[in-house]
């Protein structure tokens, strides 16, 4: 099975490799990006713009409008406001000024131009008509984030989450806002909600562990250790591919390093006393050190001296 990243890389190769503009490849790539929600703005605005402007009549009518919207947002991301404006004109011609989706895009263009007040007005108008329009609410929150007014953004996002409690992407955003203010305790709470929503995704356990570690203190180091370890149960360093027996590249080095750091810092906190550690924890430390060495030997042997000296620096036995 190919991963989505590999799938994207194939698309990217095809696009960059073809000499002339191949509209079907571009269409398929954009279709894939809409589905997978990867943010590849440069690519989308570069190739997508040619697609929707010069090859518009080749796209089928439903897909055409979605694609235009996608390219518009991507061009805002790449600071190409003129392109976005041209595309908005096409959309307004088709759907009229009253279209909510089009006016939201208009708001986003105003935001990029720095006309924040007019943008806020647009979103407020939409919300007066449709109070449950979550997209417009999110835009309002983003405006405060982009202004650097994180406290206000957090306040609005909390209101949003009282209505849309299961929107775990919103929880992620809230936690990243808290992290930016170095409010680790609040960020930790957000990740508890996220883990409840997505209990088998290893990455959230890793983040939870990292945040807990950042809080500091013996208890937190041990708690972080547990979460790092659990994330390695969900995403172990060695995964054998069943089809061809090949081994996938390990993607969870954070947790291996995390285990070592948690135990090391715990000992530092307790004046280097390792007697408080359980046997299982000592074994875990040894296992992580071995994993680290063998992963480095296999995938990046030139780094071996550096990694070995890291292991030496974080040794606890003497």
């Amino acid at each position: 099975m190919t991963s989505e990243i590999e799938e994207f890389e194939n698309f990217e190769k095809k696009i960059n490799g073809s000499r002339s503009f191949n509209w079907t490849t571009v269409r398929d790539t954009l279709r894939f990006l809409r589905k997978s929600k990867f943010r590849k703005s440069h690519l989308v605005s570069n190739y997508g713009y040619t697609l929707v402007v010069e090859y518009a009549n080749k796209l089928d009518s439903n897909e055409k409008w979605d694609t235009i919207e996608q390219v518009l947002v991507a061009s805002l991301d790449s600071d190409e406001i003129d392109k976005a404006q041209t595309l908005l004109d096409i959309l307004i011609k088709q759907f009229g000024q009253s279209s909510i989706r089009a006016s939201r895009l208009k708001g986003m263009i105003l935001e990029s131009k720095g006309e924040i007040q007019s943008a806020i007005e647009i979103y407020t108008n939409i919300l007066e008509k449709y109070p449950a329009d979550s997209m417009s609410m999110k835009r309002q929150i983003t405006i405060f984030t982009s202004q650097g007014n994180y406290t206000k953004a957090i306040q609005l996002l909390n209101q949003y989450l009282q209505i849309f409690m299961v929107d775990f992407e919103a929880w992620l955003e809230l936690s990243s806002l808290h992290l930016r203010l170095l409010a680790y305790k609040n960020a930790q709470f957000c990740y508890e909600e996220i883990i409840l929503n997505a209990p088998i995704n290893y990455i959230f356990y890793v983040k939870y562990a990292e945040i807990t570690y950042s809080l500091g203190g013996s208890d937190n180091y041990i708690l972080a250790l547990k979460y790092f370890t659990h994330s390695l149960e969900l995403n172990p360093p060695v995964i054998q591919n069943q089809d061809d027996n090949s081994i996938q590249i390990p993607t969870n080095l954070t947790s291996i390093y995390g285990i070592i750091m948690s135990i090391f810092s715990y000992c530092q906190q307790n004046a280097g006393n390792i007697n408080k550690l359980k046997d299982s924890q000592l074994k875990l430390m040894e296992w992580s050190q071995n994993q680290l060495t063998s992963i480095t030997e296999r995938y990046n042997p030139t780094y071996l001296p550096i990694v070995n000296s890291f292991i030496k620096t974080t040794k606890i036995n003497n």
């Binding site: 991301d77 990243s176 170095l182 080095l253 780094y303 001296p305 974080t314």
Partner: protein, 205 residues
């Protein structure tokens, strides 16, 4: 006494790496460590010059203590091997609106380095525009605890190592961007084959 250096020069490779890192993750906060040498002037009253030779890109999402500590331990070892010193820290905010007002984590890290190094620099990545052409970096000056302000110093670019002119930087960045060859510490944690310390593939010949 700690000197916040007024005399700074940066090599093209370091400059390109910083901007490639920020262009690779346009929508995120990015940061990294600055390496180089300190050259003391003959006249001891003058400030020493910080010669930035290289940078090591670290993160592009959140910077949290455990992995930051891991990176720093390895960078210290790397510096010993390469005979370089840790000179400071660079940071790009997520937002363009407040690009000269470092996010809290940046101030915290800069202060930490300030307390540990003899001479250091703290650079914020900015837009490459008329005010700041073509460097796109602003040197920060420490006011008090966790307070930093841009000191409007000109940073010299050291082009002796290669034939490129400073004006070529935009071109070099856009060419190398195509392959997205720069990898930071966070990329390495997700894929151990990545060369985060040296980033040999982006070096200009």
């Amino acid at each position: 006494m700690v000197v916040i250096c007024n005399n700074l020069t940066i090599s093209m490779n370091a400059l390109v790496k910083i901007h490639l890192h920020s262009f690779k993750y346009t929508s995120s906060t990015i940061n990294g460590i600055i390496l180089g040498n300190i050259s003391k002037n003959q006249n001891t009253k003058d400030d020493p010059t910080l010669k930035i030779q290289d940078i090591i890109p670290l993160f592009h999402t959140n910077t949290l203590s455990p992995m930051f500590e891991v990176a720093m331990i390895q960078i210290e070892e790397y510096c010993k091997v390469k005979n370089l010193d840790i000179l400071g820290y660079y940071h790009a905010n997520q937002n363009l609106t407040n690009e000269l007002d470092p996010e809290p984590i940046a101030k915290k890290i800069a202060d930490k380095l300030y307390n540990e190094l003899h001479s250091m620099c703290f650079l914020m990545v900015t837009k490459i525009d008329a005010d700041n052409y073509p460097i796109g970096l602003a040197a920060m000056e420490r006011q008090s605890v966790e307070q930093w302000r841009s000191n409007k110093n000109i940073i010299g670019v050291d082009i002796t190592e290669n034939a490129f002119q400073v004006d070529d930087i935009k071109l070099i960045i856009s060419q190398s961007l195509k392959d997205r060859l720069i990898f930071d510490f966070e990329d390495y944690l997700n894929d151990p084959t990545k060369d985060w310390l040296e980033n040999k593939k982006v070096l200009i010949k």
